[in-house]
Symmetry: C2
Subunit: 236 residues, 2 copies
């Protein structure tokens, strides 16, 4: 299996991310409407948790900033739990400056309720609306702040998957984007497998076949490490 080959290649003599800090975000965010209701999304966090586990296994000091999920903490990883998009932004900002690689796999809410009610809203017989305000675009902001960080984004798309992904990579000043079609039966939210294409800022493409998320995470991180030359300039 490919994952064993990769492990055999790197271990124990070569840990290409040793001494480097990798920050991974994972899971959904929850945006409160009132004390009991919220808006969220179907992200399970599995892909991000797998990326964090892979980073730790390649020797990185790994920080996993996680929205609410039902997953066990990966071994060798520091987990920071957050709820809302605003919490997520604060936690990422605190870890960004000295990070070597930042992998933004969380499905952060684009919108939050404009007002959070402090009491449970009583229902009435009428229809209603929730007024929404934009959250801070974390990936956009990290792209603007970027110095030496390798910034990796995800695009969960339901149509024009590759084009939307490439557009996002350029617009957000990313180094890599991992695009997948969440409607593909071989992958997506909640699934244990995923079908993705890794696109680099240099224009290289890696369309991967359906793989378990844990195996895919190692493959993706190894490709990023190679493309950035982190395996050859490693001082360990």
């Amino acid at each position: 299996r490919i994952v064993e080959l990769i492990k055999a290649h790197f271990e124990p003599k070569n840990l290409p991310l040793k001494g480097k800090k990798v920050v991974v975000t994972a899971g959904p965010t929850r945006e409160r409407i009132d004390p009991v209701r919220y808006i969220s999304n179907f992200s399970s966090g599995k892909m991000g948790y797998s990326m964090a586990e892979a980073a730790a296994s390649l020797g990185a000091e790994t920080i996993l900033i996680s929205g609410p999920v039902s997953l066990d903490k990966p071994a060798g990883v520091k987990v920071v739990n957050v709820e809302s998009a605003a919490d997520m932004f604060e936690a990422v900002r605190a870890e960004y400056e000295d990070a070597t690689i930042v992998i933004k796999s969380a499905a952060v809410a684009d919108y939050r309720p404009a007002e959070i009610h402090t009491q449970k809203i009583k229902k009435s017989d009428d229809d209603s609306v929730i007024e929404l305000a934009r959250t801070t675009d974390i990936l956009q902001t990290l792209g603007e702040w970027k110095e030496d960080q390798i910034l990796v984004g995800f695009a969960a798309e339901t149509e024009n998957v590759i084009e939307n992904g490439k557009g996002k990579l350029q617009r957000k000043n990313l180094d890599f984007i991992i695009v997948n079609d969440v409607t593909d039966p071989g992958g997506g939210f909640g699934s244990d497998t995923n079908v993705v294409t890794l696109i680099s800022e240099n224009g290289t493409y890696h369309p991967y076949s359906s793989m378990p998320k844990k195996e895919l995470a190692t493959v993706l991180l190894q490709a990023i490490v190679q493309e950035e030359g982190l395996d050859t300039n490693n001082d360990s």
Copy 2:
């Protein structure tokens, strides 16, 4: 402990709900906005799962209609999984007619997005709104349809807890309502303990102190069984 006393009283010679069907709903519902986003609430399902477990332990044929939760299936209970308020209504309707007791502990969405988008909504720079439509009021409808069923509702309130609960009991034609203050530190959503008052349609009150939800479920169900005389007319 009270739960052991109750068990000793009923078992093995006396299973007051033997041959009777108890339907319990539990957990939140999820109302989809588009293929990846939804509106939900913080209900953990613990109280409903505990009520179902207690019903089964008192001998009932128990049907648990459950929204998305992270809980193990209770022993001796048939679980029907649902997602939305509309799914929940269909599932309850199918089980209602021959039920002896119906316990509506699910936190069903009062509102759903008026339109479910089939593609992921692309974000724009603008603020936005979600137009909402009322869901069917399941408890109200069951109250209108009620023949011999014993109908038990829950009220999760953040203010005027008892008054709001009594109003709901009368308005919805319930036999019992279990009211709790979800802002009380000794109970509420996600907690393993709960502080509730059981109010009957006859005007009796049982204000219970903070108890683990599993123990509380047995206490509540036993109080309902006694008040309805199900323990004395039992033909088993």
